[in-house]
């Protein structure tokens, strides 16, 4: 009986206890359910993304750079097929071993191996390492032969930058190289499209137009398993090639210019005086941009870097030189515009025995025996210094500075297109106060009148100055990349309408000019100056007479310049040494500016030979050859211009 009650009691307890347990179980099921709800319903998206992140891996494919052509569609920066070997890190069992084997097949140098190890440190384990970017066909076929023993090594056919006219355009086109951390930080486009092995522009157009040239990388999405092995391709967004660029350069003239500058340090710039198209921008010496594409060797780099003629300097726009006598047309123009002188104004140049004197300081003309009584036309033609000393004194440096700036000196010709372009210096009393914190001396005005002293210009500025004189005194917009907005016919009609406009009151004051606006007060003043330049080249006693063209269609007008690099002492004057007898570094820079054809001007040019001696001997003869070529190609260029306009 007791037992039975005991059992009954026990049954009661167990039921009650079970009830508690079941209640607890229901609670726990509730917890699990809510957790599952939380994971699978509330946070589904988060985990879906994580799951895709797990299973999908992206491989970026490099874009092809846009091609750069000259005005005539000659390719000047191309993409060339190259043979490469890549190493897929996830397939490599022993990295050291693989590199050792590869070294024996494709002959890697010690410093290259070091670079590979550095790159490997930075790579993710599923990435591909570029072991060699540019194999010879022999190495490539040898690699293919031994491929079975090389786990992870992949022979790859790729493309890379190639400059067919290697040395001739390096200062215009520039070169490419591997993107550095700095490149990636500085340019958003590079950051967005970065792919290991991506080449970016380092200097020149390659650098300035990188954003257009790079293109967009592609993305290959693969499904991968936990160990990173590719299972299947999910999608492939094809990479897009960068934009093709057409420059305003004429390859043939550029090549001729480089040829003419061979073995010398210097620059030649050619510009269309209406469109502002830079047709040639040669700088010498040059170097081979192709050497940089796959990383330049230390030996080659040192050779370029240590060259005393400084090939790395783009002399056309980063080289600063005193303009010398090439400034004279501008000085004359300024004096005429301000009414300081008229055509009858004369100065007597009496030779070294009777130099120009100011406050006891003596200023000599370059011509020992003197030019005699000089008018403006003769003074430009024969480049008389004494005449311009006097004109400068009368004009004053501030007025000269104003006109010089107006015609293109003292500011960057291509604006910010090339970071290395220099502004140069056009001195004024204000400038000296601000920069040097000194007062201006009148003597400094005197030498500024012959383009010496503080004044510093780039050859491209001189070319622009000549263009804006030759086109009748209108501001143009220099450009290096073909721009369909810049239309010759529109510019010409704009200029025609500007000619007939009444003169603005501000014309002789400091004033910001718009493109194609007239820069002069009286058109006759400009005509006088241009006529004097004609005389300088085409008449006897003209400083560039020997470099003239006799044929009418090639006739051009120019102005020589010889810019001193050091002060000429009385002793130097006494010795009157020949060029070869002077130490190279002390020789004068030879300059020449010109425009052609004379009767219907269309092109301007500037020639500079560093330490070339006199402008008439070293620089002007180059212009002779150049102008023939430029004018011979004029019709073709105009035909291309029309064709292209019709297509657009």
């Amino acid at each position: 009986m007791i037992k039975k009650t005991g059992n009954l009691n026990k049954n009661k307890i167990i039921s009650r206890r079970l009830f508690v347990l079941v209640a607890a179980k229901i609670g726990l099921i509730g917890i699990i359910t809510s957790r599952l709800y939380n994971l699978q319903i509330s946070q589904k998206q988060k985990y879906e993304i994580l799951s895709d992140k797990n299973r999908i891996r992206e491989w970026k494919t490099p874009p092809q750079r846009g091609i750069i052509t000259d005005y005539f569609n000659n390719v000047i920066a191309d993409n060339q097929r190259v043979y490469q070997v890549h190493l897929s890190l996830e397939e490599v069992s022993n990295f050291n071993n693989s590199i050792f084997k590869l070294k024996n097949i494709i002959s890697l140098k010690e410093d290259e191996i070091k670079k590979i190890y550095e790159k490997k440190e930075k790579s993710k384990p599923w990435e591909t390492l570029i072991i060699s970017e540019n194999l010879s066909w022999k190495e490539f076929s040898k690699l293919n032969l031994y491929l079975h023993g090389l786990d992870g090594a992949k022979p790859v056919l790729s493309t890379s930058r190639y400059y067919p006219y290697s040395n001739d355009l390096v200062h215009v086109v520039g070169y490419v190289g591997d993107a550095t951390t700095q490149d990636i930080q500085n340019k958003k486009k590079i950051e967005e499209n970065f792919v290991p092995g991506l080449k970016v522009g380092k200097i020149g157009i390659e650098n300035s137009k990188d954003t257009d040239l790079i293109g967009n990388h592609g993305i290959k999405r693969y499904e991968v398993n936990a160990s990173g092995k590719k299972i299947s391709e999910i999608s492939y967004n094809k990479e897009t090639k960068g934009e093709n660029l057409r420059t305003t350069i004429d390859l043939e003239i550029q090549q001729l210019a480089q040829e003419l500058l061979k073995n010398q340090a210097g620059s030649i710039c050619v510009m269309d005086i209406y469109t502002g198209e830079v047709i040639t921008m040669a700088s010498s010496p040059t170097y081979d941009p192709n050497k940089f594409t796959h990383g330049i060797s230390t030996k080659d780099w040192n050779e370029i870097k240590n060259n005393k003629l400084r090939p790395l300097l783009n002399k056309s726009l980063a080289g600063l030189y005193s303009p010398g006598s090439t400034i004279k047309p501008l000085v004359a123009l300024a004096a005429l515009e301000y009414g300081i002188i008229d055509t009858k104004f004369r100065v007597n140049c009496k030779g070294h025995d009777h130099p120009y004197e100011l406050y006891g300081e003596r200023y000599h003309c370059w011509k020992k025996n003197g030019h005699g009584l000089m008018s403006m036309r003769n003074a430009i033609k024969q480049s008389c210094d004494i005449y311009f000393y006097e004109v400068a004194r009368l004009l004053g440096v501030d007025k000269l500075s104003l006109i010089a700036k107006r015609y293109g000196l003292g500011s960057k010709v291509l604006e910010d297109f090339f970071p290395e372009e220099k502004k140069g210096i056009v001195p004024s009393t204000k400038w000296k106060k601000q920069v040097l914190e000194q007062s201006w001396y009148l003597g400094e005005t005197i030498i500024t009148g012959i383009g010496q002293g503080y004044i510093q210009t780039t050859p491209l500025q001189l070319c622009l100055m000549t263009a804006q004189l030759a086109n009748g005194g209108f501001k143009i917009k220099p450009n290096l990349i073909y721009d369909k907005e810049i239309d010759l016919d529109k510019i010409k009609s704009k200029i025609e309408s500007e000619k007939n406009k009444s003169v603005s009151q501000n014309i002789l004051k400091d004033h910001e000019f718009k493109h194609y606006e007239r820069l002069y007060r009286n058109p006759n003043n400009l005509k006088l100056v241009l006529d004097a330049m004609y005389g300088s080249t085409n008449e006897q006693f003209g400083t560039s007479f020997r470099s003239r063209h006799k044929e009418d269609k090639y006739k051009f007008a120019g102005k020589t310049g010889t810019s001193q690099v050091k002060r000429i002492t009385d002793q130097d004057r006494e010795l009157d040494l020949d060029l070869e007898e002077i130490e190279y570094k002390s020789r004068d820079h030879a300059l020449f500016i010109a425009f052609a054809p004379y009767d219907k001007p269309r092109y301007s040019l500037s020639v500079l030979i560093e330490h070339g001696g006199s402008g008439s001997k070293a620089a002007a003869p180059l212009a002779n050859k150049l102008i023939k070529k430029i004018l011979d190609r004029h019709e073709l260029r105009e035909k291309i211009r029309k064709d292209f306009k019709n297509i657009v």
Binding site: I29, R35, Q40, Q43, N225
Partner: protein, 376 residues
């Protein structure tokens, strides 16, 4: 003696026995079993190969064993309860000397046809043993120190042996099942509260004797991001798989997390993850519902049993089963640390399957012989 009295008082015809069988329970087990085969099939990316074949064979063999064991009289289990327990202990001792090691622990004995994991058998043995133990104790005696100490010792021996293998998960499950029965038998609530407090106080000490990998698992549980590629990897990947399954799942054989091998231990402890990834929230709820139904049927059988042993066993087994399921699912969804506990029937593993089917067999025999009033 006992057997004969039972026979005398209750005789069952074969038809009676067949009528008494809980077919609903069998169907549930069969459904979960087939789901498990398909899940294992999915772990092999839809290839009917090694794991699927093995799992199917084991399921069929042990499922048949379960059906056969159903017709063994419940009094047999009562009579052999202590022997069963001692056998379990002996096998655990055998593991120490002749066990097979795998991934740092020694849990298995080679039986040539399969590797037996005695700790899995111990899970059932402890329930049977305790059911018998409390069957004969008067409710008034249960609270006495003698009857308090004896079951604790009986529980500590296998737990200790399993922990030293080391296999914390199974030890916790054994301890949990044992405690559930002690609770059901009616031990005063205060003892549970006291021991709970003692455990809490001694926790720092317990943690200090844990193996480094166990410690890191617990730390990882609290913060899986601590070591996303090491200790935290499993739980992070499991949560990603379950979460990305969404409401309806990625579809059968479409679970990318498991197919692409991001999911570790997908055949065994993480089978629920795979299932949940492929069949989503709905599928998971269906599976949980099936388990709930299974547990409900077992409890129902317990209620219909006359003997206290059968009642206690059924309730105890139901609680233990719940515990296994809860621990496993809570573990893979990140509610509990990863301790290594299989999901009953679903997980790949012969011993686990064997012990569950054995347990269910005893349940069914309680049903068939429900009128047996086992007595001393």
């Amino acid at each position: 003696m006992i057997l004969s009295t039972s026979l005398n008082s209750n005789s069952y015809s074969f038809i009676d026995k067949l009528k008494a069988v809980d077919y609903f329970l069998i169907i549930i087990v069969a459904i979960i079993g087939s789901m498990s085969v398909f899940s294992i099939y999915s772990t092999e990316s839809g290839n009917f190969s090694f794991y699927t074949k093995n799992h199917l064979t084991r399921f069929l063999v042990f499922f048949s064993m379960f059906l056969a064991l159903s017709f063994v009289r419940v009094s047999f289990w009562y009579k052999q309860a202590y022997f069963f327990y001692i056998l379990g202990i002996l096998l655990l001792l055998l593991v120490i000397f002749f066990g097979i090691s795998a991934s740092g622990s020694k849990r298995w004995i080679n039986l040539f046809i399969m590797n037996l994991q005695p700790s899995e058998l111990m899970k059932i043995a402890i329930i049977v043993c305790f059911a018998r133990y409390y069957h004969r104790i008067q409710s008034s005696d249960i609270q006495s120190y003698k009857y308090l100490l004896q079951p604790i010792i009986l529980l500590l021996i296998p737990c200790y042996l399993v922990i030293t293998q080391p296999d914390l998960g199974t030890a916790i499950l054994i301890a949990g099942s044992g405690l559930a029965i002690i609770w059901l038998a009616g031990l005063n609530l205060k003892y549970f509260i006291y021991s709970g407090l003692i455990l809490l106080v001694s926790l720092p000490f317990v943690i200090s004797i844990l193996k480094p990998y166990q410690k890191s698992r617990i730390l990882t549980f609290f913060n899986p991001e601590r070591d996303p590629l090491g200790a935290g990897y499993q739980i992070i990947q499991s949560k990603i798989a379950i979460g990305s399954g969404g409401l309806l799942g990625k579809g059968f054989l479409q679970g990318t997390q498991s197919y692409l091998e991001f999911l570790p231990e997908k055949h065994t402890d993480f089978i629920f993850t795979l299932f949940s990834e492929e069949f989503g929230f709905i599928g998971s709820m269906v599976l949980i519902l099936l388990y709930a139904l299974l547990i409900y049927r077992i409890i129902r059988i317990g209620f219909s049993s006359r003997s206290f042993f059968a009642k206690l066993y059924c309730f105890g087994f139901a609680s233990a089963l719940f515990l296994y399921i809860f621990v496993n699912i809570a573990m893979v969804v990140g509610l509990l640390p990863i301790v290594g506990a299989p999901l009953p029937i679903m997980s790949y593993g012969g011993s686990s399957m064997l012990s569950i089917m054995l347990g269910l067999g005893i349940v069914m025999s309680c049903k068939i012989y429900s009128r047996d009033p086992i007595s001393n």
